[in-house]
Amino acid sequence: MTDAWTLGLRIGRGAALKALGLVVLAVFALILPVIAPDPATTNIAVFTVMYVGLATAWNIMGGYTGYISLGHAAFFGIGAYAFGLLVIHLNITPGYAPFLLVPVAGVLTAVFAVGIGWIALRTRAATFVIVTIAFMFIVQLLAENLVKLTGGGAGLSVPYPHDWGGDFFNTPFYYAMLALAVIALAASWWIRRSKFGLGLLAIRDDEDKALAVGVPTRAFKLTAFVISAALVGMIGAVYGYYVTYLYPQFVVDPLIGISMVLMTFLGGLGTLSGPVIGAVLLERAQLEFAYRFGASRLYLVLFSAVFLVVILILPRGIVPSVADLVRRWRRPAASDATTPAEQRVAS
């Protein structure tokens, strides 16, 4: 009885601390442009929140089903181009109105993702990885060669709001990215606790077994792929608006695709908070590296070092490893045989 009471108290206290932490984090994220309005800081914030959204969206497919897509940069680019072309051809006045087209860019990206996923998901494991990379390069080549549509190598200029000057310019983009990151997190959280999410995790563990117990694996995988791609597409759309000029090599950039993967691996594959932690840490580190060593691509050396550290020391990522440590600290004696679901990596 006492033990149960203490455990209940501990779980209650843990939940309260978690809720408090989330509230503090949410308030901080909301007031950030107010407390630190200088463009240098808000620019970092835009990119950090962008990667939080991207890694979280990628995790819905890669983390939950175990299908590692290295080609999600294609959806980022498709979203950016879809948005840019809509704004240009619909003659939308720059300002807040173009943000309303972000969901449309998401839907268009989803349409592409259905086609790409339909083909790519006929394969598994390493073949799937290769197929997604191939698709990404196809999209990049198309962006370069469909000159009349995309402007090709000369780029596509997206009209931007001239009257948003100085300290304010980054703020609307920050909130748009933040909203998308929150949507991605909410989707990830919802999926993780749904029957659908359980099916995705079952696919990750043993796809044939999942089929044997009625999980429509193809439909589930495609749905996860499309949701993940649509979210990435919407983030790409806001990015396109933010950078105002779309070049194939920058919006369909393999490094963006690899970054979201690495961030998720670092934080914890298949967890809710892992991609957030991974994105904040790596984006911060990358900017610090760029600041100290110039705007070269030297940060790639850092990325490879992080990849090695993850593989060698934290193969499951930060969140599951820390959760393990906490569990061992709380229950020092032989607790491994009965690992309660609540204490697992899920959060």
């Binding site: 029957k195 117990v213 009625g214 999980v215």
Partner: protein, 243 residues
Amino acid sequence: MSLLEVDDLSKRFGGVVAVDSCSLSVPAGSITGLIGPNGSGKTTVFNLVTGFIPRDGGDVRFKARSIAGLGPDRIYGLGIGRTFQLARIFPRLTALENMLVPVRRAGLRALLSHGQWGHEKARAMEMLEFMDISRVAGTLGGALSYGQRKLLELAAVMMARPELVLLDEPAGGVNPVLLERIAEHIRQLNGQGVTFLLVEHNMSFVMNLCHEVVVLHQGRVIAKGKPREVREDPAVLDAYLGA
């Protein structure tokens, strides 16, 4: 009345004929054993019936409806569950989550519904208790013993209330005490109306448990009938002893 009818089923793997014009039927409410020497095609028949591999010829009917050509998930949805030769569970899901994965009709509802709905969770706990493994409900599948995995696999298959369950070597690799427990669970589930078709090498297990036995040899059915009749069939003795 036959719940499952396999008619003239054939499967080749390159030059090897794994299943050769195999016909058998599983009466509703029965426990039917499918036996035969190693390599006689028993597991291939299971894989063909459950849609894991495409057939070369023949037909499979469940409740008089052809299910040949359907995928494993659709076949499970129609009410045919199966287990695997080496117990397969989801290692990174808890035992309880393993129980909640099975779905008979997945649609938009799966996307919108909670993974641990009250009534489903209650039934899962009930099944775990029935199998006497409820105390490991919160344990990750990968941390369970082989015996617990066997029981969990059987319990999970029962979650979507299948009418027919195909068990691939339920007695394989388990100790005699657990063997008796598994047999008892099968008997009880059978008493509740579940039909079983099982592949097994343990002859005393088959003879004690099954109402009907079908013997396969080199992909062909060489005998069928009551366990006692089959045991004394010269063709069966030949196949097993190689005489």
